[in-house]
């Protein structure tokens, strides 16, 4: 059971959270099928650091964004929706 750092509650077991997947902006132009289907279906799916949305559904009920390493499951940053994204690009990552 990995721990996920909820920005409100602190580290909690991952089974308290709903995984909402890779963070991808919703296209503003909804008439472009290619664009829209890329938003719906195409995934980066990296083996490394990935930015995704989680909802602490079994806890405080709040959504947050996290930068998690998809191989080690380490989370190096979390932030609330709408807040400035942390700049982690300078840190070592694989």
């Amino acid at each position: 059971m990995i721990l996920l750092p909820c920005p409100h509650c602190g580290k909690r077991n991952s089974n308290e959270f709903s995984y909402l997947g890779e963070s991808a902006p919703r296209p503003t132009e909804t008439g472009d099928a290619k664009l829209w289907r890329a938003y719906l279906y195409t995934k980066e799916n990296p083996a490394g650091w990935t930015r995704e949305t989680w909802l602490h559904s079994g806890g405080c009920g709040k959504a947050f964004l996290a930068e998690r390493h998809s191989v080690t499951n380490e989370v190096r940053a979390t932030w609330l929706p709408g807040r400035k994204e942390p700049d982690t690009t300078t840190e070592a990552g694989s």
Binding site: M1, H8, C9, R12, N13, N15, E16, S57, G58, G59, C60, G61, K62
Partner: protein, 221 residues
């Protein structure tokens, strides 16, 4: 722009004198009596570890931005008594649940409305007395019981008296509030009412190792 909806009928008024009986989802052990229109147990145990069904107590959900509410309410993750004896629990960010005496929803709501009058932004109050079941688990081994079904660290260092958290208890999302009684650890466990009988059975089962006994309704507010 006026954003408050406080003027709306926010609560279930307390029942008028009527034959209609309100019931907890948990089967009550005998002898029975009535408390503010609710059927409750008056079993008395005096055991070292007790489990009581406090479902009839008043529960009011308050939503507002923390900055607007200021210091009038407890912080998120903490619980404290207010002047009126209500237990005010920071249940979620920008969300509180206020526990009070059974049958006092209307009064509780008007007190809170008064206190929050003039707060900025959207403020809403919802009476959730009938939505939730509440148990009181108290006694020296209360932590031992909860540790069997809840993954949160309950030690004094991380979860001292006055701590509140939402987490899963035996697979059900619950609000757990620690408010010690007579120097003994005590936990209020608030959950969706439909899980009531299931959770009660689980608590009795987990507590068997520590000789838990089922106590009747006690007045804690």
């Amino acid at each position: 722009m006026p954003t408050s909806t406080r003027k709306g009928p926010a609560s279930v008024p307390d029942p008028i004198a009527t034959a209609m009986l309100a019931r907890s989802p948990v089967r009550q052990s005998k002898p029975l009596r009535q408390e503010a229109g609710w059927e409750v147990s008056s079993a008395d145990t005096g055991a070292a570890l007790e489990l009581a069904d406090l479902t009839p107590i008043t529960k009011v959900l308050v939503r507002a931005s923390s900055s607007a509410v200021g210091s009038s309410f407890s912080d998120f993750g903490r619980a404290r008594r207010d002047e009126a004896g209500h237990l005010v629990v920071g249940a979620r960010p920008d969300e509180w649940i206020v526990f009070g005496k059974a049958g006092s929803a209307a009064a509780t709501i008007s007190q809170i409305e008064e206190r929050l009058a003039g707060a900025e932004g959207l403020v809403t109050l919802v009476d959730v007395t009938h939505r939730d079941v509440v148990f009181l688990l108290s006694g020296t081994d209360a932590r031992g019981v909860l540790e069997k079904i809840c993954a949160i660290d309950l030690s004094d260092r991380t979860s001292p008296d006055g701590t509140a958290f939402r987490s899963r208890v035996a697979g059900v999302s619950c609000l757990v509030v620690r408010e010690d009684r007579d120097g003994r650890p005590a936990y209020l466990i608030d959950a969706d009412r439909s899980y009531g009988q299931y959770l009660f059975d689980v608590l009795v089962d987990a507590g068997a190792e520590f000789s838990v006994e089922v106590a009747g309704y006690t007045e804690v507010f």
